[in-house]
């Protein structure tokens, strides 16, 4: 199948899933009515009298921001996973490997225990501290790795990241054990959820992610070259160390923001790039944007399942991503392999 047709099918599938994500819930809303509400709101036009205020509020204030937040976060995790796998030349690498979620968990745990709040930011203190702690963790991992290994070798980064991540996880466990009253909130946050996401959340996430994507798109050639190894990348003319720093920080910012706003949601960063490479090839000019599209769409689908699978209850979306993702990933990855 031609690449253009594959891209068209991907975009169309993504739009269908997004619409379904908004349409399905406790009340089913027909796609045409959704479009009427969205265009009415965007164009500040009066919305048809057939649609009552409650329905408009469900779509515009609750479901749409939730679906968009899920799409943005899924896309960010997928982009981050793509970068990590390519620069570390490890198909199992992700920002989680380098301790982003562990760092963010410590930060969030401390905020919850101390009740610390930045006056101007209020409720956004938690995501901001989560993001900053995730970034600081990756910064420390890279800086210390650079001290141990001047060339910042991939194996050293991954090994040190994992050691550091385990250490920080132990700190989080200690925080949780010593402060039992905040335990449920911390556990709930760690499970990941898109409930109660507002337009402000969506706007902040969109600004951060679009900014990161614009930088990332400039480095797709370098990402391609670095998959062949650092020595070859240097020989071809890539400033490997500098590019690696930029991409690692960018990747940490993407995951850190996602984790900070929604909690720990794994698996998408691992599967999205693999599935996309399988269908579209390895060139990052396609892999990066299509992974973002796939990750976002997949997250919206998982969130939809998390919302509707059990009536009057919501499942942790992180569990759903893995429950759906693992068999789907296995199917896509192994379907063409012959039994040996």
């Amino acid at each position: 199948m031609k690449t253009k047709i594959k891209i068209f099918i991907s975009i169309l599938s993504s739009i269908i899933v997004l619409v379904l994500g908004v349409a399905i819930g406790s009340v089913y809303v027909e796609p045409l009515k959704i479009l009427t509400i969205i265009f009415g709101k965007i164009l500040s036009q009066p919305i048809s009298a057939d649609l009552n205020e409650n329905l408009i509020s469900i779509i515009w204030d609750i479901r749409l921001p939730r679906v968009l937040a899920a799409f943005l976060v899924g896309g960010a995790l997928a982009a981050s996973g793509t970068v990590m796998q390519s620069i570390l030349k490890n198909p199992l690498a992700s920002s989680y490997t380098l301790g982003v979620s562990s760092g963010a968990s410590v930060g969030v745990g401390l905020v919850l225990i101390t009740g610390f709040s930045i006056p101007v930011l209020g409720n956004f203190t938690l995501p901001l501290i989560g993001l900053l702690s995730g970034l600081v963790t990756v910064y420390l991992v890279i800086t210390i790795t650079a001290q141990i290994d001047r060339n910042m070798g991939n194996t050293t980064i991954i090994l040190f990241g994992m050691i550091f991540s385990l250490f920080i996880n132990a700190v989080t466990t200690l925080i949780m054990a010593l402060s039992r009253e905040t335990l449920p909130r911390l556990i709930y946050w760690q499970m990941g959820s898109f409930a109660l996401k507002s337009w402000l959340d969506v706007k902040i996430l969109a600004v951060i992610f679009v900014g990161c994507y614009l930088i990332l798109i400039r480095y797709t050639n370098e990402l391609d070259i670095m998959t062949f190894g650092e020595e070859q990348a240097l020989a071809i003319g890539v400033e490997v160390k500098k590019v690696k720093w930029i991409l690692l920080i960018l990747s940490a910012a993407l995951t850190g923001s996602a984790v900070a706003f929604t909690g720990v949601i794994g698996f998408i960063d691992l599967i999205a790039p693999h599935v996309v490479r399988k269908i579209f090839g390895s060139s990052h000019k396609l892999v990066v944007p299509i992974s973002i599209l796939f990750g976002g769409t997949f997250m919206v689908a998982c969130d939809l399942v998390a919302r509707i699978l059990v009536s009057n209850s919501e499942l942790p979306v992180g569990a759903v991503t893995a429950l759906i993702g693992a068999p789907f990933f296995a199917y896509v990855y192994f379907k063409n392999r012959k039994v040996r």
Binding site: N151, I225, E231, A235, I236, G237, E239, S282
Partner: protein
Amino acid sequence: MIEVKNVSAGYSGIDVIENISLKLEVGLNLSIVGPNGCGKSTLLKAIAGIIPIKGDVLIDGKSIKTMKRAEIAKKIAVMSQMSAIYFSYTVFETVLLGRYVAMKDNFLKEASQQDKAYVEKCLEAVGMLEYKDRQIDCLSGGELQRVFLARTLAQEPEIILLDEPTNHLDLKCQHELILYLKNWSKDHKHSVIGVFHDINHAMELADHLLVLEKGHIKALGKAEEIIKSGLLNDVYEMDIKKYMLNSLKKWEFVN
């Protein structure tokens, strides 16, 4: 001209090569030989500035320590020993990566029609044009080696450094590769520095040999003189001429 001045380099703080100095005029080829672990590949990496060095390497009088990677890549290209392929690209995409520095100057970092045409020219030169849409993980070792050579050529360098380029190639391909590189450097504007295990290949490519032993230069000069001196026998701890003649005897039954 490329000048290596008192270069020492290695890994994890241990020098594999020590105080290596040599000069090579552009237009001349040099083959590096020596037993396993003597530092041949390390010397190539040091010349290309891929690993940190003590001492200096000057390209046309300019230290590589002061040059950006892109600047070095315009002068020197390295065809490394084959490594594992983690993500598969098409042959064309792989060779196009050699145009990185050329594409970098373009705002969108996109390949121009000239870049694409040049890639096709390089693929044609190594006999891989008809494979351009194949995935590289479906190629044989020899085909892959030729793709990497095409990518090296796509950089349009003045000097090519080769690390055991004949690995994975059948006899015909080995001969063709060396012949191609010899022709490539014939215009006196290009040079090839190659690391070889096979002395015949080393001599086929270059008139000059650099013999390394335990990280030091054992000999540097005209290939014929070095071979006549019998020095290679000491370095490899065997009678090379006897070995070659014995090999040749096995062919005597052929008309």
